[in-house]
């Protein structure tokens, strides 16, 4: 890994970020389009939750990881403080792995 590929990846990533932000400001959008864009962001975030809970690369992540996420999710749903959600998710996954659950 040399400087050139790092710079290309950095510039490309910034272009995605900046492009989206500028487009949003430049175009006046009707309400339903703005609503659709915020739905799009939620759809992407939920897909990230699903894939990062259940998969490591192309294969199944094992049970400890989704179990931790599930415990965190249930606590969040029951309006537990954020710190509790984070700690419980990590502790569940860590303890299950300690107990030999992949």
């Amino acid at each position: 890994m040399t400087l050139i590929p790092i710079l290309v990846l950095a510039l490309g990533t910034f272009a995605f970020r900046f492009g989206g932000v500028l487009l949003r400001e430049r175009i006046t959008m009707p309400e339903h389009v703005r609503e659709l864009l915020s739905t799009a962001a939620i759809v992407l975030l939920v897909a990230l939750v699903a894939t990062s809970s259940l998969a490591k690369g192309p294969s199944f992540a094992g049970w400890a990881l989704p179990a931790g996420v599930l415990v965190g999710g249930v606590l969040a749903w029951r309006k537990a403080p954020f710190v509790v959600v984070v700690a419980a998710a990590a502790a569940t996954a860590a303890l299950l792995r300690l107990a030999g659950v992949a």
């Binding site: 950095a10 739905t39 699903a50 192309p58 294969s59 969040a76």
Partner: protein, 228 residues
């Protein structure tokens, strides 16, 4: 800037700090793994400052360490980061109006800052949450990477600590309130199923982009607006 500190309540700050701590440990692991793979110390450090997107950084280092070409590493990273474009479209008005704010704010656009902003109910809190989360994670991630690259093998595996569960759990906690709206829940669930089904077959990043097909399940506008 100072208003950010006053706008956010203690609960939100504690949330930001909790995920910043997890990001610092993940960053330390990235720094240590990179150095262990034989990359010079400056590589993970410069990557984290300039790219600031953990998934694509792991991927790039992994591809090169496995003997892949830097071009493959860059292309894979770009596919993984393409989701930042629709994220920018969704939160672009939250960031601020001045050029320095737009440029700096764009660099701080990550999954977490978007999710934190979208979980807020009014525009002022959304802006404060976006900047607080983006800046805290930038600081934590980069300090973690630097420390990890220096410490090398001393850093323990984040998976042993269960820290890989923090990112999805935080994201889930932040999107839960939005999912009470069935107009968002249905497309999100369909999108998640599509992404999961595609994960074994397609390169990383593509399945998450494919989840946008779930938007086809958004209720038609004329139906929503039609008088009952």
């Amino acid at each position: 800037m100072r208003s950010i500190w006053r706008t956010l309540d203690a609960e939100l700050w504690r949330g930001v700090l909790a995920i910043a701590l997890a990001a610092a440990v993940n960053g330390a692991s990235f720094g240590a793994i990179s150095v262990a793979a034989g990359t010079p110390l400056w590589v993970p450090v410069v990557m984290s400052l300039l790219i600031f997107a953990g998934g694509s950084q792991y991927m790039a280092i992994g591809v090169v360490a496995a003997g892949g070409s830097p071009i493959a590493a860059v292309l894979g990273g770009l596919v993984l980061n393409a989701r930042h474009l629709p994220f920018g479209l969704a939160v672009g008005d939250v960031i601020g109006r001045t050029w320095p704010a737009r440029i700096l704010g764009s660099h701080l656009l990550i999954d977490e800052s978007v999710a934190f902003a979208m979980a807020q109910t009014d525009a002022r809190r959304a802006r404060a949450a976006y900047w607080a989360c983006g800046a805290s994670l930038f600081l934590a991630w980069n300090l973690g990477v630097f420390g990890g690259a220096l410490a090398g093998q001393l850093v323990s595996d984040p998976e042993v600590l269960g820290l890989d569960a923090v990112f999805p759990a935080v994201m889930l906690a932040l999107v839960l309130p939005a999912l009470k709206d069935t107009g968002k829940l249905r497309p999100a669930l369909i999108g998640a199923v599509i992404a999961l089904a595609a994960t074994p077959f397609l390169p990383a990043g593509v399945p998450v982009l494919l989840s946008l097909l779930g938007l086809l399940a958004v209720p038609r506008r004329n139906k929503v607006e039609a008088p009952a």
